[in-house]
Symmetry: C2
Subunit: 219 residues, 2 copies
């Protein structure tokens, strides 16, 4: 099994996260690094979706991955084994989200000079990660079909802060009471400008479109 | 549509939540009220499972429900309409969990003299609610099949603090890579004494057993 670097993230000392996030965003822009912050509930298929995207873009851009989890390194190892993409594991030590300073602790362990795109897989949680700006260039989230089409009504902030909503597990729509049009309507209530891309990370449906969208965002 | 009481929960002023939780637990014991704290990820089927349980126990015990959500009153209305059980909605104002003092603010709006069992549906989140003792007599959580059997590895504390783990959406097992035996093994790694009950809130399978388990816990 591949070994991955595990970074134990320390609690931030910055009082003003918004200011810190803005300055991180500016630094990254100067370094021509695009940081995608990927959020979702536990078990929505973040890692599987990420593997699918990485295998489509890794020969086109220099990409690295930071996997944030409370514990374990399952995801970073999985990413590295399935894609060969440089991947590090961030341990939050029980913390439910990452802020800008915590994100920076991860970035310090990557070679940003040789990286165009960093994808941060945030802690699986629809509440707290939405409240803390990580300094990312772009926020994205995955909503999976089994979670239900009403989630934008119940977790409003998450859908408000995301530029991209990926609807995953479209292959199981027949087995759930999930109305994609109703879901799109609810998402646009929260953020009229959100891009919505339905996919199945299992079958690969929709992933080409997703990879294409992502590449278009890069400078 | 039924109207339900909506309580805007204020942030706690107590510094020592554990002490406060213990004293709430003692008070509830004296009043012969059993408080069940039900937690899960967003979209695991907490409300649907709850409706199924309530319809089986409501003629046997005096039960009331507190629905905690960041926003909205969809769940409390749904519970009241589907079961007739007294149900109030707690708004957390963006907060990702409830602690003992916040739980008490909800309880103050119920008639505890005429209640044997209060079920608190906590905010959908596998991280923060596990960290804050609500003062409940018993902690339970729902893990749904689409979330994956590895969740006890990635969200250890949630599984450690729960006396009961309900595995929901068993009807869709054929469409997911979910190994129930592996899942049980992972849960018992976190808490060897956890009771595990697989159910399908959709078909009703396993709910009789769940209702029976719950009734047995009451004094």
């Amino acid at each position: 099994m591949d070994e991955v670097k595990i970074i134990e993230i320390k609690k931030s000392v910055f009082a003003d996260n918004e200011k810190d996030a803005d300055s991180l965003r500016t630094e990254l822009k100067e370094k021509k690094v695009f940081l995608l912050n990927l959020m979702s509930s536990p078990g929505s298929g973040k890692t599987t979706t990420l593997i699918q995207i990485l295998n489509r873009i890794k020969n086109k851009v220099r990409v690295a991955v930071m996997e944030a989890d409370i514990d374990g390194d399952v995801d970073a190892v999985k990413i590295k084994e399935a894609t060969g993409v440089p991947s590090i594991q961030l341990h939050t030590g029980g913390m439910c989200h990452l802020d800008a300073e915590m994100t920076r602790q991860g970035l310090d362990n990557l070679n940003l000079e040789e990286t165009d795109l960093v994808i941060l897989e945030n802690v699986g949680n629809l509440v707290c990660p939405a409240e803390f700006d990580t300094g990312a260039t772009c926020n994205a989230m995955i909503l999976s079909v089994p979670e239900g089409d009403d989630k934008p009504l119940k977790y409003p902030l998450m859908f408000t802060v995301c530029d991209l909503v990926i609807i995953n597990k479209m292959d199981v729509v027949p087995y759930f009471d999930f109305d994609i049009e109703r879901c799109k309507k609810y998402i646009h209530l929260r953020n009229p400008n959100a891009t919505i891309i339905p996919v199945s990370a299992k079958t690969g449906d929709g992933i080409d479109k997703l990879a294409e969208w992502l590449l278009k965002q890069l400078p």
